[in-house]
């Protein structure tokens, strides 16, 4: 168990000490939000209406952008091979790295989301739903991103393949995520929360096995 936490702590330290990673991601997330009003016009009603969609699209894009730092450097400098000879199974290491990745790329988005909500003129209840939705949904996004990162880790020119590959699979997260903030049908929001939580549990439970398999094949 201590090895498990050591992997998480290692990834957190590496990312925080190198600096800039988390900040860049946040900046990207907020930039998308800031760009939208310039594209659709400063109409407050319209912006409030599309705010849930924009927050989720921004979160999705920010997550997809961060896929490269999950396994690539460990794969290239040989750390992954060293990990595979350790006492911890590769599946557990993938899970630990997934947790670290979520702490570094999911949690900051949730912290920054109120700023976007403010810019879009969302009300308090809506913002609460948005934050809860992000909290429930970002683990699933991180898991999908981990999978695409594992599948493309052996590719030297795989930069754009991973996002293209994984985008269709993340569609349910986007649908239920935006659905948590829907006002159209009674009970739809609660339903979406439950589906989102189920999706996160399912993907976080299964992805480490698939990703570890892909990493093993890539490492051969």
């Amino acid at each position: 168990m201590s090895a498990f936490f050591a992997v998480i702590a290692r990834d957190l330290k590496l990312s925080l000490r190198l600096g800039g990673d988390v900040l860049t991601l946040l900046l990207f997330f907020l930039s998308i939000g800031v760009v939208v009003p310039f594209a659709v016009g400063p109409d407050r009603v319209l912006l409030a209406a599309i705010a849930p969609a924009m927050i989720w699209v921004a979160a999705l894009l920010a997550q997809l952008l961060s896929h490269d730092r999950l396994f690539r450097s460990d794969f290239e400098d040989g750390s992954l091979i060293a990990f595979r000879h350790g006492s911890l199974s590769l599946e557990a290491i993938v899970f630990a790295k997934l947790v670290a990745h979520w702490l570094l790329s999911g949690l900051p988005l949730i912290v920054a989301a109120p700023a976007l909500g403010l810019l879009f003129g969302m009300d308090g209840a809506m913002l609460g739903a948005a934050l809860l939705g992000l909290l429930l949904g970002t683990p699933a996004l991180a898991a999908f991103v981990a999978l695409s990162a594992a599948v493309t880790v052996g590719l030297k020119r795989g930069g754009l393949v991973a996002p293209v590959l994984i985008l269709p699979l993340t569609l349910p997260v986007l649908i239920f995520g935006a659905g948590t903030m829907s006002r159209s049908a009674m009970g739809a929001s609660g339903q979406a929360m439950l589906f989102l939580a189920a999706l996160s549990l399912l993907t976080v439970a299964l992805v480490p096995f698939a990703a570890a398999l892909a990493l093993r094949i890539s490492g051969e």
Partner: protein, 257 residues
Amino acid sequence: MSGIDNSAEPGWFTRIAHPGLFLQWSRHLVIPLAVVTAVLFAVGLYYGFAASPGERYMGDTVRIMYVHVPTAWLSQFCYGVMAVSAIGTLVWRHPMADVSQKAAAPLGAAFTAVALFTGSMWGRPTWGTFWEWDGRMTSTLVLLFIYLGIIALWRAFDDQLKAARIVAVFTLVGAVNIPIIKFSVDWWQTLHQPASVFRADGPTIDAAILVPLFVMTFAFSFLFLTLHLVRMRTEIGKRRVHALERAAARAAGGAND
């Protein structure tokens, strides 16, 4: 476990697994399959376009169905073939499963694209729009993107043996995920209550339409089998040429890989 017992007559599994043996027995299958496909298409098209009546409300546009429904069925069947092949690749490291996986992906993408295209051609006269964000159409579009992503992944790898196993992992994840996508899209659609009303309460399909529909479904399925087999044979040939070229280059003393 490893190594094939060469002393005995090859069993059926070996006959499928060995590329050389596969090329031998599949050679005799290509032309019969092509003939069956051609006959089925001739019968299906004759029944579909000449011998069957138009529908009462949709008129002759209903004939688009004879292409639309079979390709829509194949768009899903191809993914099934890919998923089964993916299991073969991962569990048995079956070399023909690799080839089958690779051969099926562009076929699946093509059938899905045809299903979407004919769907929108059919949609224009009957619903008044080329595209409707309807649950089924949307999931089919997502399926097309998954196919294209898988093809992109195949092309990104140099080493096709490694590519086969990586793609197999992704294909199986996709197979688990596609029903979830389908469910979420259906949920999304009920949430947004589309304005158009086209799901006229399922009219019972007359036998005059059902017969050509069945024949055309078989025709397209046999078309898939034929093309799949030919593509597999071509892929084996390509790999052999590649291997021979490398051997020739090595013999010439050029590269030392």
